[in-house]
């Protein structure tokens, strides 16, 4: 009984506290709250941060923010939406898509919050509306900044673009961090570095009168603009490299081997990212999507190609380092190869064969038979373990979202994915970069850089430094060393690199055309990747094949040989032989980067 009374007293005390609180809120502080609520409604307006800018390595601007005007409607202040929209459409151009989007946004926006109807008003439209502004209570022109890519399609596959925040984006962001922000990085660097570029939202509490007009600001917390990015990329080199493709589909990656900096990131063809910033119209989008050359496809990052003969230097190095071959041992090439006891012929690309070849000749002239033999001696297990040291079959970890890993086949892989044993014939074709094996251009360039640096591996990166908006100083992004490749004998590496030099500068090298008048020493390797397999005794004749069945043309290179400053991988889709198409593109890129220009 006594305890019940105590419980009652406990409850009574708490109720008294509650009543005290209510008296405070509703009587003592009533004036304060009625001001906040009734006559002068308090609004909390977000102040979106300015997005960080993106520059190339020389400070050339690649993504900036331009002033733009948008038209916003605050629904609680508009009595008849439909007639207002009709009247507005006489002053500014309102398309069906604008109206549809407006209707959609309107459903999920509270009545006191403005809803955007049009973006990017022209100066004329702004002027026309300003004159008639008094006729449209609740309709406002709001100045903002809009993302702009001054160089249009240049390097779009690296940069990416921003677009309006959609349902999917809302799931990965905290909506309150994006109050007032309309756009978000969708792909490329814009997406990868979204956190850095976005900044921190600010807000102000304002008093407004009954029409919603702002009377004064009570509290203002300024937004913190996003940080600027300085890329490792050289826009001029990028531009030259893109033009070198002359409309052909393909990809090229140039890396500074000393630090992993991406100097050029080419995927051709490209498209204009500005189209996507404020919503692309359906027709243009469908045209891009259905284009045979697939401009939207990021070949540099996501294109997976057989490396073809560009793999040979890596295989040769593996053979030397693992003690399977010696530098001067010869192999006889009759133009084909047979597995012991089997009838099937594995062809060399040269019908008559190369005769007696050593390692240097095998690389310089790209003898397939030499590598069939070497691959068979190594076996798939050793082949797999050595090639994986260079990062084949794994993502390089480049700081652009969406990279694909390629494929470095192994016994375990084949068992797991196809439930089949590994066949010796598959080892042969893996040795010349055909069969199951796939690499991305980024991966191939990274491996080439690693080769040029005698096994020192660095993670490729495209953002060099960041910069606070109010700071002149740049904060460098540290480059990341990966596990170095153990070197058994330095002269093995020298042998392979010299053989690659013979590819370009030797009398019978497959890329001798680009080496003739070069001002610097280039180490390179051509490659041709079959898009489809030829039958036994069938001959590859380019002019009899549809273009989409033509071979891919590949080339890897680095220069200068004694102190490498640039490593390159070039892939030209359906370009035919590596020496004809891909190598000249590589030469243009090397010249642009290495040849001193008279200033």
């Amino acid at each position: 009984m006594q305890r019940s009374v105590q419980a009652l007293i406990f409850a009574a005390v708490l109720v008294a506290v509650l009543i005290g609180r209510l008296v405070y809120l509703q009587v003592l502080a009533h004036e304060h709250y009625i001001t906040l609520s009734d006559d002068n409604r308090i609004k909390i307006l977000p102040l979106p941060p300015n997005r960080g800018l993106i520059f190339d390595r020389n400070g050339l601007i690649l993504a900036d923010n331009l002033p733009s005007y948008r038209l916003e409607l605050t629904l609680e202040q508009i009595h008849d939406i439909d007639s207002t929209l009709d009247a507005l459409s006489k002053l500014v151009n309102i398309r069906d898509v604008d109206r549809k989007r407006f209707e959609k946004l309107r459903q999920r926006t509270p009545a006191f919050k403005p809803v955007a109807l049009r973006f990017h008003l022209s100066d004329d439209e702004v002027a026309r509306f300003a004159i008639d502004r008094h006729r449209f209570p609740g309709v406002d022109i709001v100045a903002g900044l809009s993302r702009h890519y001054p160089h249009g399609p240049l390097s779009v596959h690296a940069l990416g673009y921003v677009g309006r925040i959609d349902e999917r984006d809302l799931q990965r962001i905290d909506a309150s961090d994006y109050s007032g922000t309309t756009h978000i990085g969708k792909v490329g660097i814009e997406r990868t570095y979204e956190d850095v570029l976005h900044g921190t939202v600010g807000y102000r509490q304002v008093e407004t009168n009954a029409e919603g007009r702002i009377l004064r600001t009570l509290v203002r917390t300024p937004p913190v603009p996003g940080e600027n990015l300085y890329l490792t990329m050289d826009a001029e080199l990028q531009s030259v490299a893109e033009q070198a493709f002359a409309g052909k589909a393909g990809a090229a990656i140039a890396i500074d081997p000393s630090n992993g900096d991406i100097l050029a990131f080419v995927s051709q063809p490209t498209y204009d990212p500005n189209l996507f910033v404020n919503g692309i119209d359906t027709e243009t989008y469908e045209a891009l999507r259905d284009d045979d050359k697939q401009p939207l496809f990021n070949r540099a990052l996501r294109g997976q190609y057989p490396p073809g003969s560009t793999l040979k230097p890596f295989v040769a190095l593996g053979g030397l380092e693992q003690g399977i071959i010696s530098e001067h041992a010869d192999t006889y090439c009759p133009g084909f190869y047979r597995l012991p006891g089997k009838a099937r012929k594995y062809r060399d690309w040269k019908r008559g064969g190369h005769g007696t070849v050593d390692l240097t000749t095998a690389i310089a002239q790209s003898c397939d038979v030499y590598f069939y033999d070497l691959a068979l001696s190594m076996g798939i297990d050793r082949l797999h373990s050595y090639l994986s040291l260079f990062g084949f079959g794994k993502r390089t970890g480049i700081d652009i979202i969406g990279e694909l890993p390629g494929l470095l086949p192994s016994r375990q892989w084949k068992r797991a994915t196809r439930n089949l044993p590994w066949f010796p014939g598959e080892t042969l074709i893996t040795g010349i970069g055909q069969g199951f094996m796939l690499t991305t251009p980024v991966q191939l360039a990274s491996a080439t850089a690693t080769l040029s640096e005698y096994g020192r591996r660095l993670k490729p990166r495209i953002v060099a430094s960041t910069q606070q908006y109010d700071d002149i100083e740049l904060t460098p992004v540290p480059f990341e060393p990966l596990a170095d490749i153990p070197v058994e004998e330095t002269h093995h590496w020298i042998t392979v690199i010299n053989a690659m030099r013979e590819v370009v500068h030797g009398k019978r090298g497959t890329a001798r055309k680009i080496g003739k008048d070069s001002e610097f020493d280039i180490a390179g390797k051509t490659g041709t990747a079959q898009v489809f397999g030829l039958k036994q005794e069938e001959k590859y004749e380019a002019d009899k094949l549809a273009e989409e069945l033509h071979d891919h043309s590949l080339f890897i290179a680095f220069a200068p040989i004694d102190k490498p400053r640039i490593a390159i991988a070039v892939v030209v889709e359906h370009g035919g032989g590596g020496s004809a198409v891909a190598a000249p593109i590589a030469r243009i890129i090397l010249d642009q980067y290495l040849v001193e220009k008279p200033s």
Partner: protein, 374 residues
Amino acid sequence: MSTLLDTSREDASKRDWQHILHFDAALLFGLLAISALGLFVLYSSAGGDTQLVTRQILRLGIAFGGMVIVAQLRPQWLQRWTPWLYGLGLTLLIAVLAAGDVGKGAQRWLDLGFVRFQPSEMMKLAVPMMVAWYLSDKRLPPTYSRLLIAGALIVTPVLLIAVQPDLGTSLLIASAGFFVLFLAGLSWKLLGGLGLLATAGAPVLWHFMHDYQRQRVITFLDPEQDPLGTGYHIIQSKIAIGSGGLFGKGWLNGTQAHLEFLPERSTDFIFAVLGEEFGLFGIGVIVVIYSFIIVRSLYIAAQAQDTYGRLLGGSLAMTFFIYFIVNTGMVTGLLPVVGLPLPLVSYGGTSMVTLMAGFGILMSIHTHRKLLAT
């Protein structure tokens, strides 16, 4: 004893229908009054959405029906089945953790195929029943060892629910269990010790909280810090109540509510609508009715003829009070946002049925008393 006998006789004719139907008229009147007023406020907060109000009436009907059914059960019968109910509840809680549906990021529901069931609701009644059952068969106040066992009976389900995670319900159940101990005569010395333990345990609890729960606590301490996010609720609800003043802005005239400044205005924050539209005066009426229900419930518990009824009834009364005070404290900015509804007024809430079943038990305790002379 003789006085009780006398009054019973005196009131026999008056209480006759109440005994037959096992109603307590005073309690029923209070509950109906709150529900009716609540419907008015809900109509306003829902912006005149009659469908919403109709659904609420239906739900109230089911809850009152549940109360009537429970009121028919004899307390002795309830007491006998208590351990079984508790055991079943505990089993289901474990089942929910093992195989429950994840709804809104928390594992609370058990899908039985034909009905989705929240075992933690059942435990709101089963835990105080069990503790009362355990303590009532020996002399009170309980010995230390018995207190320890009673404590374990409370803590086990509380922890199981807290990891779902459903902090609101687990705290509610903990308090229901605690009030049984308190009414059983838990010494003040031990109470002080428990208080110290709770203070010391706060950092530990913080460690196990989910981010959104921590955010609520931070927001409570400094709502201005995040005025666009979680702080928005509290700021807007204080503006709504404060601007209501003494007599309010009038029914259907709350600008905070109708211009959608106030979030969750039909559910957890409906008390703010009441404060805005009816002012301190309107809130006063509601507080008086709530207090009446609580006082009446405590009286019924105190009048119970056996220890089980006394402990259980008192705990149920205090649980109802906790609902009320935590919700109003949260809406007025005295407590952090914990997501408890205002009982019988907030829209929806599976908890309504449980709550009314509790009142059914109270009515059963009161109307099944043996009239010793007849």
